[in-house]
């Protein structure tokens, strides 16, 4: 069976699990929204909030993503399914790409909700001229985050103390995405007078990041999940 078909099969399976269990809708999204409200309490000043809105959107994304990744692999390790996938001879590259696709879809939903929260709660203004940049930023950043999340999630899945290992490994690595996506989003929003042309170089960085971890994960995922 081709890697691409197995990837689609696994992505469909993960998304179906999500549709049935509704963990993302009922727990992760409310958590993310709560984080946005807490930011508002901590930075009690409308001016500040509007200025830092893009950064807060991505910061909340990173934190909520930790929960999503844990959940994505808890589903696999709860009843030995990850072992079963390996015994079934499913190519690790297929597992990696499939789980990344499902994670990317969930992240996309999460990011849209956070973006709406920023507009409603922080009075962030989105100019139509920045729409193309904004969509491109979200696509590039989401791809990179999904790859990194799956790679390190799979590595930590079988480990003792995975709840603490995952943030330790993942958060330093996603720093370039946090910086790049925040700056590109600021450019798209026009925050602090940034123009949308300033955002495009960051897209390059985000794409490079996604390519690095996409390639790395596709090649090496088998060695990382093999107990």
């Amino acid at each position: 069976m081709s890697t691409w078909r197995i990837a689609r099969l696994i992505a469909a399976k993960d998304l179906r699990i999500e549709l049935r269990s509704r963990v993302v809708t009922n727990q992760v999204l409310p958590f993310a929204a709560l984080v946005m409200v807490m930011f508002a309490f901590a930075l009690d000043n409308d001016n500040v909030l509007t200025r830092v809105a893009p950064g807060l959107v991505w910061l909340a994304t990173m934190f909520s993503m930790l929960v999503l990744v844990q959940r994505s692999f808890a589903v696999e390790s709860a009843d030995g399914a990850l072992d079963a996938l390996q015994v079934a001879g499913v190519r690790p590259a297929g597992i990696f790409l499939g789980k990344s696709m499902a994670l990317a879809a969930q992240l996309a939903v999460l990011e849209v909700v956070l973006l709406l929260a920023a507009i409603v709660l922080y009075q962030a203004e989105v100019a139509w001229s920045g729409a193309v940049l904004l969509v491109t930023t979200f696509v590039a950043a989401t791809t990179g985050l999904a790859f990194v999340g799956t790679l390190y999630g799979g590595l930590a899945a079988g480990a003792k103390g995975r709840e603490t290992l995952l943030p330790l490994l993942m958060l330093p690595v996603v720093a370039p995405v946090l910086i790049g996506a925040t700056r590109a989003t600021e450019a798209a929003f026009g925050t602090n007078g940034a123009s949308s042309s300033e955002g495009w170089p960051w897209i390059g960085l985000l794409a490079l990041f996604a390519a690095l971890f996409g390639t790395g994960g596709t090649l090496a995922f088998g060695s990382l999940i093999d107990e």
């Binding site: 069976m1 197995i6 099969l9 399976k13 179906r16 699990i17 049935r20 269990s21 589903v75 709860a78 009843d79 030995g80 399914a81 072992d83 079963a84 996938l85 390996q86 015994v87 079934a88 001879g89 499913v90 088998g222 107990e227």
Partner: protein, 212 residues
């Protein structure tokens, strides 16, 4: 004819402990082999090693013509393992689980439906999420997944555990059919009477070694 499984002096280590301490075993094609022995003797490890989950530390291990000591992933796509865990997704229905695991081996919809039927899971039960099933029903679902995967080497770890009388009959009949069709079956079980009647040959596992 070349044996389906050939182990010679196999040592395997789990967390620094030698779970297998020089196991020798040959299993022929179409054979149903019963592994028996006390807890901690190495039955589960032997099955996991054949499935390519446990690395071979020393010795020679050939499964279905693949040298799994060199590359333990080599034989995997032709092997089916039912371990202590069922490998099921709790949020998915019985039918979805069997369809997914069947699809990883390229099974058609008809084959999936037939597997559900074989283990008495068609009808209303097929739509129930696995999370709501009893332990025995989960075991049945896992067996249906295994049937749908049409493996050449079946590795079953305590398959009778948790099953009711009807389930055991279904299981035994399924294993006989599979063996008659040319599959090889290795069963680790404490249900000696039941599994003994089923098996063509019985070996004892003691202290990580195999006794005929």
């Amino acid at each position: 004819m070349e044996p389906v499984v050939h182990l010679s002096g196999v040592v395997a280590v789990l967390g620094g402990f030698p779970v297998l301490a020089g196991a020798d075993l040959d299993v022929e094609r179409g054979e149903i082999l019963l592994l028996r022995g006390p807890n901690g003797a190495g039955k589960t490890s032997l099955l996991r090693l054949c499935a390519g989950l446990l690395p071979v530390e020393r010795g020679e291990a050939i499964v279905l013509g693949h040298d799994i000591a060199a590359d333990r992933t080599a034989a995997r796509h032709r092997v089916g393992l039912l371990g202590h865990a069922n490998g099921l997704y709790a949020d998915l229905s019985v039918a979805d689980n069997v369809a997914f695991w069947g699809a990883t081996a390229g099974a058609t919809q008809q084959e999936v439906a037939a597997s559900l039927d074989r283990m008495g899971l068609s009808g209303r039960l097929a739509k129930v999420p696995v999370a709501r099933l009893s332990a025995g029903q989960r075991r049945r679902t896992a067996l249906a997944c295994l049937v749908a995967r049409r493996a050449e080497l079946w590795l079953l770890d305590e398959p009778h555990a948790g099953l009711d009388a009807a389930g055991r009959d279904d299981l035994d009949a399924t294993l006989r059919e599979a063996a008659a069709a040319g599959a090889t079956v290795m069963v680790a079980s404490h249900e000696l009477e039941r599994a003994g009647a089923l098996a063509h040959r019985v070996v004892d596992i003691v202290g990580g070694q195999v006794r005929e």
